[in-house]
């Protein structure tokens, strides 16, 4: 099941790439089946440990196994990814090949969350870059080349030191293979751990993204296709938090101990910094890019606290932000479809003619700025509770972003929808878009009002990490 779930999107993507005639319906079907599989896997999860584990020797001489498995966090993110992909292919007005790349990217993302072998994790981590680059290249804006280089080089320059660290983890740690179980049984300690952790840190900071390695993100989003699909996929690709949680910290708890201060600072500073910058963003995509950096800063703050609450919060916020962040990008795609521009400054007053669009936007915006009762809040709260234990001051700094978020989000929103002195006549949601809206709203509400659904499974993970890290200083 897990294998089918993993590879089906890639296969569907390839088929679609070769036979674009199959059209959007095919992509939707694939994405829907994927989501179905994720849900079945979720329903069958026993609540403890890594489920659906399987391992096949891949390069046995080198200790590489094709090993998959899902724990609570993996399942949460699988569902988030599958859901967003379904929403994306459902709503975005893009060429069919674009959808094919989207599906291919889905496999990469699912693989990142399911890999139980470090090399395979790295494999998926890197391979996902290709469809992402192709989307940007074929369907990006006029100045995309620069964005591509920035994106690709940040990713590669970042992740290659991680490969060195991966070797160090295995060979200096004394494990016999790259299997998670094996590596976790032989964690690195001391000086080597902090050096190897640094390798991971660079790569994962790019993908979290953490200040100052977030610099690639704004141009990436600016240049991507205005439908927002590529941006949504890019949002899903922000897997740094997960990788820190799944690999870096358990394999090198000493590394986190060494770098905790710096990481907490970067996370907290990034959170408020990005939120502040977002206020002057000239267009919606830039705004959302910085908003994403800010949220991930908060999540990272929770994770780097190294305690149970913080970890649960970080993971939950990650999952939630994948959904609302992506939905927001797709939503902005809908706006673009109507107005032909994404600038934040002009007054558009869209609410007058498209009230349903307005309400959807309001809802997403509120989810994004962490309104309690919607998806962003449980994660933010748990991250706060975790972080406060470790560093009240940095928590204070990071959560200043709560205020800044309201400022940037509402200001831009007001210009887009309200003040309809210069109202643009635009069509309201059509049936397809209503479907998108209904599912998104339902999911965000569910995540906000009944977080227990997932936190029940995240909590043991958080406790395990906290135990490993030996409690916060």
């Amino acid at each position: 099941m897990i294998h089918v779930g993993l590879w089906l999107p890639l296969l569907a993507g390839l088929v679609l790439l070769i036979m674009p005639g199959l059209g959007r319906g095919f992509a939707i079907a694939s994405a829907a089946i994927s989501l179905g599989i994720s849900l079945v896997l979720f329903a069958g999860y026993g609540g403890q440990g890594v489920a659906y584990a399987s391992q096949t020797p891949f390069l046995p001489e080198a200790g590489v196994y094709y090993a998959l498995g899902l724990d609570g966090a993996g399942l949460l993110l699988w569902i988030a990814v599958s859901l967003v992909v379904l929403l994306g292919v459902w709503i975005a007005d893009v060429p069919v090949r674009f959808l094919a790349y989207t599906l291919m990217m889905q496999t990469g993302l699912l693989g990142i969350f399911a890999a139980q072998d470090l090399i395979f994790f790295y494999f998926f981590f890197e391979a996902t870059l290709i469809p992402s680059l192709l989307m940007l290249w074929f369907y990006g804006g006029a100045d995309r080349l620069r964005a591509i280089y920035t994106f690709a080089l940040f990713t590669l320059v970042g992740s290659l030191p991680m490969l060195a660290a991966i070797f160090a983890v295995r060979f200096l740690g004394g494990a016999d293979s790259f299997l998670y179980t094996d590596l976790a049984a032989n964690p690195l300690t001391g000086q080597t751990a902090s050096l190897a952790f640094l390798g991971f840190m660079v790569a994962l900071a790019v993908k979290t993204p953490l200040f100052p390695l977030h610099a690639w993100l704004p141009s990436f989003h600016q240049q991507n296709h205005p439908s927002g699909l590529a941006d949504a996929m890019g949002t899903l690709y922000k897997v740094g938090i997960f990788a820190f949680f799944k690999w870096a910290i358990p394999l090198m708890p000493d590394g986190l101990r060494e770098w905790q201060g710096l990481l907490l600072f970067l996370a907290a500073f990034g959170a408020i910094y990005a939120a502040w910058v977002a206020f002057s963003a000239p267009d919606w995509k830039t705004l959302l890019a910085y908003a994403g950096v800010s949220h991930m800063g908060v999540a990272a703050l929770g994770l780097f606290s190294g305690n149970g609450e913080g970890t649960v919060g970080a993971l939950y916020l990650l999952g939630a932000s994948m959904v609302y962040g992506s939905a927001m990008f797709l939503f902005i795609g809908l706006v673009y479809k109507r107005t032909g521009s994404l600038e934040t400054s002009p007054v558009r007053g869209l609410a007058k003619h498209a009230p349903a669009l307005y309400v959807l936007g309001m809802f997403l915006l509120m989810a994004m700025i962490g309104l309690p009762g919607l998806s962003g809040f449980p994660g933010e709260l748990m991250a706060l509770l975790g972080a406060y234990k470790v560093s009240p001051w940095l928590t204070f700094v990071a959560f200043l972003a709560v205020i800044a978020a309201a400022a940037y989000a509402l200001t831009a929103f007001q210009k887009l929808f309200q003040e309809n002195t210069q109202a643009q006549a635009v069509p309201d949601l059509d049936t397809r878009e209503w479907g998108f809206a209904a599912v998104t709203v339902a999911v965000l509400l569910l995540m906000g009002l009944y977080p227990k659904l997932f936190t029940l499974y995240l909590e043991p993970l958080g406790k395990a990490l906290a135990a490993l890290f030996g409690g916060a200083s």
Binding site: L59, P60, A62, A127, W137, L156, P161
Partner: protein
């Protein structure tokens, strides 16, 4: 062996025959020779053939790298010019030389091989017979001659220090080092490692593209084969640091230098310098003999694709700008080149990634983390120019280019060309102005097939790199952990069934165990490289017999392995064998095992309460399932029937964690068969209902009911101290009617 005969034979015969037969026939025969030689490489894969008193050693390494060289030759032949018969011949000579180089551990043979493939290459480099060709040829030749001189001088010193011409001869002292470093310099020259790389950008650029292709793939393969024999991990002490410097400089220079290049061949010349550095990393590890060929194979395929496409575009320089829009103009060429570039860049999921990963891992294993980090950082820098080229291919073509394309196609249809039949993969303006050597691009079906084949093979290696790596590992001496038996120690005297065989092996492999030559069982080595097998679990009837036992562990299919001898004695009085004294056992119940005289009846007590009686089997073994015990330290006692005391063992039962989800179906652990017990006694098991009710009968009379809640460990347990006589217990889920059949009924004879 046949490979050598095939190559040498075809080369010799064709040299004479070529004057007679048509040049097309000559080409086909040459091709056939190469293919045959390649096939003979595959025959007997994994075996080592030695000949000429050890001067010729055709092992997996030689086979693999000869294949890569032949692949390079095929590329060159199929894509190369066909107007003169010498071209195929020269390629054939070169491949022969490379094969010899790959297959000899003798330095003198290596020198000869080096010359055998270098001399044809000098000629091939000037094939174009224009200014650039001559310049490239002369530079290559003069520098190459210098390289040969250095190599020879190195051999002389090496001989002086060791008295031997065989690679890997042990030695020390300045003379030895000087010789070794001279040899290293010569090979660094051939593989274009900095600071001996000078010739390569110029020669790559000035030579015809097919020849460049040949140099980039085949020469590297041959040279690295020789290096693998000379620079073995055993001698790391002597050559390690020097090679590290070369590698560091190569990766830096190659990748940085490529950044500003504007001509495709020159760009990939720099790239190949960098790649030589990466391949060098593989020399450090114990399994470099497998990983380096794997790297060279994927690299040969990927660069092959790149240069093949370039050669189809033009025999001359290819300014990068000309690649713009290739994907739109010639999708097959564009796609193939794009694939090649991404693979060389080392982006997953392409084979290039696995190759890079493997050689980097070799260096990491040797602890050269500085070098690994440098290599990784430089390959990230390299990503820039690879991606630049990649995206150029996938850009929209400019209008001018489109117009040129139309012109070229028109010209083709108008004038026709024997060189470019059918398939319109050949590119733009060429062929008409270049006089003698005109279109290098042969775009017939074979070339197309080669292109597609290479793409397919690259794809296969991407998906299943293990296949390739395993093939290249065949015949390598097992590098990791030999099999062994670590316990019990040889000569020990043990009680039958009370011990466990333990040992080591390669993680994941399956081992066979033998007891006095009879198959005892099969074990799989765990990821920690250890295996264990409790003898008591074996199905072999004689496994528990008293007397001398020789245990042997073997790899599947091998005749011998590690072994140990022990004496096995029959047990006397009841004793516990498992778990061990003081062990922590599961709160959900566990199994007590022990020994006694065969047929003896043993009663087991837990803190004085009976758990039932067991009878030792023919080998003196008994076992009993203990129902979930209460937490804390418990003392178990095995008394012979009727005795007042017996062997004791104390075990620790952890407190069960509350909140577990109980999902086991109802089961009774002990006293299933009923029988006779002492009092008090206890029975119980596991279940999932929240509580059970035990109904106690004597005959038909109900004498009691008791509700027992499920414990935190998901167990239920009933403690009873009734008077003597027959007594019956019925267990039901609480709430069920007593008219329903019970879950279990236990009838006991209480003493």
């Amino acid at each position: 062996m046949l490979t050598l005969y095939m190559l040498a034979g075809f080369a010799t015969v064709l040299s004479l025959l070529a004057f007679v037969i048509s040049r097309e026939a000559n080409r086909i025969v040459t091709l056939a020779g190469l293919v045959l030689a390649g096939l003979f490489c595959l025959v007997g894969w994994g075996q080592t053939v030695e000949a000429f008193g050890g001067l010729y050693r055709f092992d997996t390494l030689a086979r693999g790298l000869t294949l890569v060289a032949i692949l390079g030759g095929l590329w060159a032949l199929l894509l190369g010019p066909a107007k003169k018969f010498e071209f195929p011949l020269l390629v054939l000579y070169a491949v022969t030389g490379m094969h010899i180089m790959a297959s000899s551990p003798n330095l003198v043979v290596l020198v000869i091989a080096l010359e055998v493939f270098s001399l044809p290459l000098y000629v091939l480099a000037t094939w174009q017979r224009d200014e650039k060709g001559f310049e490239a040829g002369l530079k290559y030749f003069l520098l190459g001659a210098l390289g040969a001189a250095i190599f020879l001088y190195g051999i002389a010193l090496y001989f002086g220090a060791t008295g031997s011409f065989m690679a890997g001869a042990p030695g020390s002292g300045p003379l030895y080092l000087a010789g070794l470093f001279l040899i290293m310099a010569a090979f660094a020259f051939k593989t274009a490692m900095v600071p001996f790389q000078w010739w390569s950008p110029d020669v790559y650029q000035g030579s015809p593209t097919v020849v460049t292709l040949f140099m980039a793939t085949a020469v590297k393969a041959a040279a690295f084969a020789a290096m693998l024999r000379i620079f073995t991990p055993q001698g790391l002490e002597a050559w390690g640091v020097g090679m590290a410097v070369l590698i560091a400089l190569s990766t830096l220079f190659g990748n940085l230098g490529a950044l500003t290049q504007t001509e495709a061949k020159r760009l990939f010349a720099y790239s190949s310098i960098a790649n030589a550095g990466y391949i060098g990393l593989g020399l450090y590890g114990p399994t470099g003999q497998a990983t380096i060929p794997f790297y060279l194979l994927t690299y040969g395929l990927a660069t092959g694709l790149i240069f093949a496409v370039l050669s189809m575009l033009s025999n001359q320089d290819v300014p990068l700008e000309r690649l713009r829009g290739l994907w739109y103009r010639k999708p097959l060429l564009g796609g193939a080149m794009g694939l090649g570039i991404l693979s060389v860049l080392g982006l997953p999921p392409l084979a290039g990634f696995w190759a890079k990963y493997l050689v980097f891992q070799e260096a990491a294993r040797a602890g050269l983390y500085g070098l690994v980090v440098l290599a990784l950082v430089t390959s990230a820098i390299g990503a820039y120019y690879y991606l630049k080229t990649f995206f150029l291919i996938f850009s929209k073509p400019t209008p001018v280019q489109e117009a040129e394309d139309h012109e070229a196609e028109a010209a083709l249809t108008q004038f026709g060309s024997s060189e470019a039949p059918g398939i319109p993969v050949a590119a733009a303006p060429m062929g008409l102005t270049q006089g003698l050597m005109a279109p290098a691009a042969r775009t017939g079906a074979p070339a197309l097939g080669l292109l597609l084949g290479a793409i397919g093979l690259l794809g296969l290696l991407s998906v299943l790199p293990g296949l390739g790596l395993q093939a290249f590992s065949a015949g390598l001496s097992p590098a990791v952990a030999a099999v062994s038996i670590t316990a019990p120690a040889s000569g020990a005297t043990l009680i039958a069934g009370s011990y466990t065989l333990q040992g080591t092996g390669k993680p994941g492999e399956t081992l066979e165990l033998f007891d006095n030559g009879n198959p005892l069982g099969v074990v799989t080595v765990g990821p920690d490289g250890r295996w264990s097998l409790p003898v008591a679990t074996s199905t072999l009837p004689s496994a528990l017999a008293a007397g001398a036992h020789t245990y042997e562990v073997r790899r599947a299919g091998q005749a011998t392995g590690a072994s140990t001898n022990v004496n096995v004695a029959q047990p006397a009085e009841p004793a516990f064998t498992s778990p061990l004294e003081g062990a922590t056992v599961a709160a959900t119940g566990f199994t007590l095992q022990g020994t006694a005289r065969p047929g003896q009846v043993v009663e087991i007590f837990e803190d004085g309460a009976s758990l039932g009686r067991v009878t030792a089997d023919a080998n003196g073994q008994w076992s009993l399932n203990v129902p979930p015990p209460p937490g804390g330290t418990r003392v178990y006692e095995a008394r012979p029937e009727g005795a007042a005391s017996g062997a004791r063992i104390s075990l620790v039962v952890p407190e069960a964690q509350a909140g577990a989800i109980c999902s086991q179906s109802f089961a009774l652990s002990n006293l299933q068969a009923g029988g006779t017990v002492s009092r008090p006694f206890r029975f119980g098991g596991v279940g999932s209902a929240s509580s059970y009710t035990v109904l106690v009968r004597r005959g038909d009379r109900i004498i009691g009911r008791k509700e027992i809640p499920l414990s935190a460990a998901c167990g239920w347990s009933y403690f009873s101290d009734p008077g003597p006589g027959e007594i019956t217990y019925e267990v039901r889920e609480t709430g069920r009617l007593e008219t329903e059949p019970p879950l279990t009924t236990i009838t006991l004879q209480v003493q």
